[in-house]
Symmetry: D3
Subunit: 116 residues, 6 copies
């Protein structure tokens, strides 16, 4: 695994453990809901991950974009599908999204190259 | 067609004509790009409309939500699929999205009942 | 009750019933979480309502502002406390908040005058 | 004056009087700062009004857009200059801005036609 | 003091001095207003800091969150109170807030451990 | 050129090349539109760059702010004009903009000192 991907996931994992180890019910339930919402239902997992990706893109959250890019990658979403999703996100969200698009593209490359 | 749907579309149509009749190239091209971006590509039209719907939902734009709800309806998206998309939007965008969720639900009902 | 307050609450209530009557688990749980999050805990209900009010203000959601203004009113929050909360919201969120501040002020007046 | 323009200004004026008549120093000072910030300085009033217009556009605040359109109109800004400003706002802020662009265009027409 | 806290405060302090040393009246007054708004009034300082914290959280500004966490810590706000505030912020602002919640939690730990 | 400015521009340039080298028409056209929108028209380039600067400021995009600061610098915009633009952005967008104001000020200093 590339060091960027590993660093992102290690921090995310360490802090999620702390947050969930804490005694706050609301936060625990929101995390739980998050797992549920992206499970297969009327829509399949792949479509839901693309929904998560574009929502993260237009709200300009780099960490959320990375997280959904990784799930998309693991679900077998193609680069063309990811790029179409990101391009709609950039159109809807505006050129203000472009810096996040650059970082998203870089992370997708890291995902594709992680087993080199 | 229900009066809400007709009123929304008439106003949208009238103002788009004025905007496009005007001499501003940037606006014309953005409108043109919008048509292109939601055409079938690596992703099909239905998936793209769901992407447009959730992006509009988390950015809390009622008119954009209505527009994509109508396109979804015309593409044969089911109510369950729309509701899953809106529910992910509410989770990602927070409870601040709920007032828009109410209006989205109402508009979807109007779409379903328009031929009654 | 003033007609504005009644109209707001009737619509909210009618649409919430429809949303909750629907079969979407994520939405039901988010509504449920919302009730839980604003119940007394380490912080009392009044403080939590002020937190809900300022969050709604800086995110510029008129319906959410109205909802929390009404809860504040029912909890016995004074006008001075509400105005301080709204003023911090306007400072943090910027002058873009001012149109929402006008509508918030108007709704608070309606709440104060509802039993006249 | 067209009824839309009059209604907007009357409500704005009435509520501003109430807000400023109230005893909240922070709100009074923010209003005062607002007047100062848009006065001539290193930049002239016209440029500042265009800055206010695009800021309001990308933050998608209809009332703020109307307010700055009216000031632009009174400063003698041309329709072409307003449209270029709005088009940059739509590009930077994304297609989510388009519904606000429609309403801005409509309000500008009302301003141009108010003395007919 | 932990190095993260020191680095954050040193940069903030250095740049604030430069901004205030500059000849811009609007910026000076906004900084001044900020000090005033969070002073005791109808609401006490602790409540106001929690308002500042949740506003910063839902607007997803890491530096603002850190600043208010530190003020909360100095005012004797407990971890439970901070976590309830952050949990309401995450519910209202959505899961898009979670990456900021992780960083907020980490900064609070640094504040608690700074005298170890 | 200072190392901060060089690093920012090198990364931007490298990733833009990758994005444009890719086969996504929507992204290519958005980049193209961006170049067009900031060219001289009814408004001159300098005014348009100030519009781009304030839009980036209120939307709180550090990279976009840096980009427009650099274009402003190259167009001969004075520090006073930049500071007035940023101050209006901070007033309209709220104190939540302040951390971005600090970084903007620092980048402007780097631009002024790059030939030392």
């Amino acid at each position: 695994m590339s060091s960027d991907i590993k660093e992102f996931n290690d921090y995310r994992s360490k802090m999620n453990d702390k947050l969930l180890g804490d005694n706050n019910k609301i936060i625990k339930r929101i995390f739980n809901l998050d797992t549920n919402a992206f499970s297969a239902g009327a829509l399949d997992v792949k479509t839901k991950e693309l929904l998560g990706l574009i929502a993260s893109t237009v709200l300009r959250c780099d960490d959320c974009v990375k997280y959904h890019l990784e799930s998309c990658y693991n679900e077998g979403v193609t680069k063309e599908e990811v790029m179409e999703t990101l391009s709609i996100g950039t159109l809807v969200g505006g050129t203000i999204v472009i810096p996040h698009l650059r970082r998203a593209y870089e992370y997708w490359e890291a995902l594709e190259n992680q087993n080199d």
